[in-house]
Symmetry: C2
Subunit: 252 residues, 2 copies
Amino acid sequence: MSNIKPIGRFAPSNPGDGDGDEVRFCSTCAFGEVCLPVGYDKPALMDLHCLVEHVGPLHAGDHIFRSGEKFETIFAVRAGTVKTSMIDEEGREQILGFHLPGEMVGLNAIHPARYPCDAIALDTVYLCRFSFPALATLATRMPEIQQQLFRLLSADIGKAALLAGDHNANERMAAFLVLLADRFAARGFSATRFRLSMPRGDIANHLRLAPETVSRILRRFQDQGLIRVDERDVELLQPGQLRQLARCILPG
Amino acid sequence: MSNIKPIGRFAPSNPGDGDGDEVRFCSTCAFGEVCLPVGYDKPALMDLHCLVEHVGPLHAGDHIFRSGEKFETIFAVRAGTVKTSMIDEEGREQILGFHLPGEMVGLNAIHPARYPCDAIALDTVYLCRFSFPALATLATRMPEIQQQLFRLLSADIGKAALLAGDHNANERMAAFLVLLADRFAARGFSATRFRLSMPRGDIANHLRLAPETVSRILRRFQDQGLIRVDERDVELLQPGQLRQLARCILPG
DNA sequence: CGCAGCGCTTGATCCGCGTCATGGATTGAT
DNA sequence: ATCAATCCATGACGCGGATCAAGCGCTGCG
């Protein structure tokens, strides 16, 4: 159903207007600390802002990129949620992760030089689009950007390893909720009340569970007073307990 | 059992002797294409060789680094096998991966700025040791190095995702053997006959299986004529069949 | 020599979670 | 209004692989 229509574009960002709405968006971005003029000389920042292109709005089901396409750009999510997933030889989907505002998409494509997965909007999505060659070139002149890229890449290795471990359904589900809460919190959203932008089936897939199991565990968590679930709205009532459940998975 | 003795050191590499045994080692390394003088100006290469320190021999059980230690260096395996593993809150080991000659260790530590895992020699190991800050600085002057680091980091994201998927024991075991074979082949070793440098329990742990299951599956593969197993020596008799079994997991 | 300890294998049993089946609630198309 | 499609929930059942248990071969040590 999802179509191949060319992705919509905002007006390309004008380097001159970088201090208006930009700041509000960028302050939550993974690149915020290098994009925003915090103790950094203005002209260099212009270079970065110049190579950013705003993309959106995309709608649920739209593809940001597709598996196999030539890699040229990485994206930062400005609003909405993006899922990345691979389709294996058997045609089964394998969801690699969900990307919230402020998080990057496409870093796993640098090596193969082709996108190894699909990136799909789960709701209305706005993105910043970076030409990776241009960014890499800029990074040689701006060590902060190089460092930030190294950190982002390295962090993604850790994230990928988190849910790869040998843990049971309860632990994985708890870890998923807690990690989600932490990521929302890091971007300035509520850490205890949020809305799941993905269907149960996608959560299940990502956690290597059956959708039925996700339903049952959410029910059990609710019965135990750990959370409150209403459709896709979740409230963490006992974040500490949840964290305790997930402690084997969560980073240090 | 494994001790905290300071790691042994080779004589620091002398920039002047970089064309003797060095070439043989380096030609199999992940950094080989940038370390070796292939179409690259000599003086710049000297810079890279200067910041490399040779480490070894380490012996089975020796730690290269430990979880929680401050991150400063990444390592390339020159000989032997290194495993990286985390110990969770419950004290259970979680093996992230095995690193063969020519592969890098420590890239997942850039972000937290501390090593998130232990790195342990499985047999007699020789390493090249790179100061990461120095390497990053050099990378700003040598775009090839920056690119190579980006590629290595990005590739590790993909590797971490490979075995994270939802696959059964047969598929994971087959994928493990095939990936191992490919990695040996990429370094110039035989792709069909090799020796497992890790115990069954470590393979099992890495694949989220019980050691008993690993034994049984290897047995079954042998009964089916796919492989021949003798202790830790493995011969792939039907690499195509194995690859077929693992096709859901393997990249591209 | 005898014994302990470890790695590995193999068989028997058990359980977590997948699968299957059913039904309700929504949504959107006709 | 009707129907199809999607998403979610919940119960019944079965299977893959963990766990338990036992035994073998090897190594190191008293």
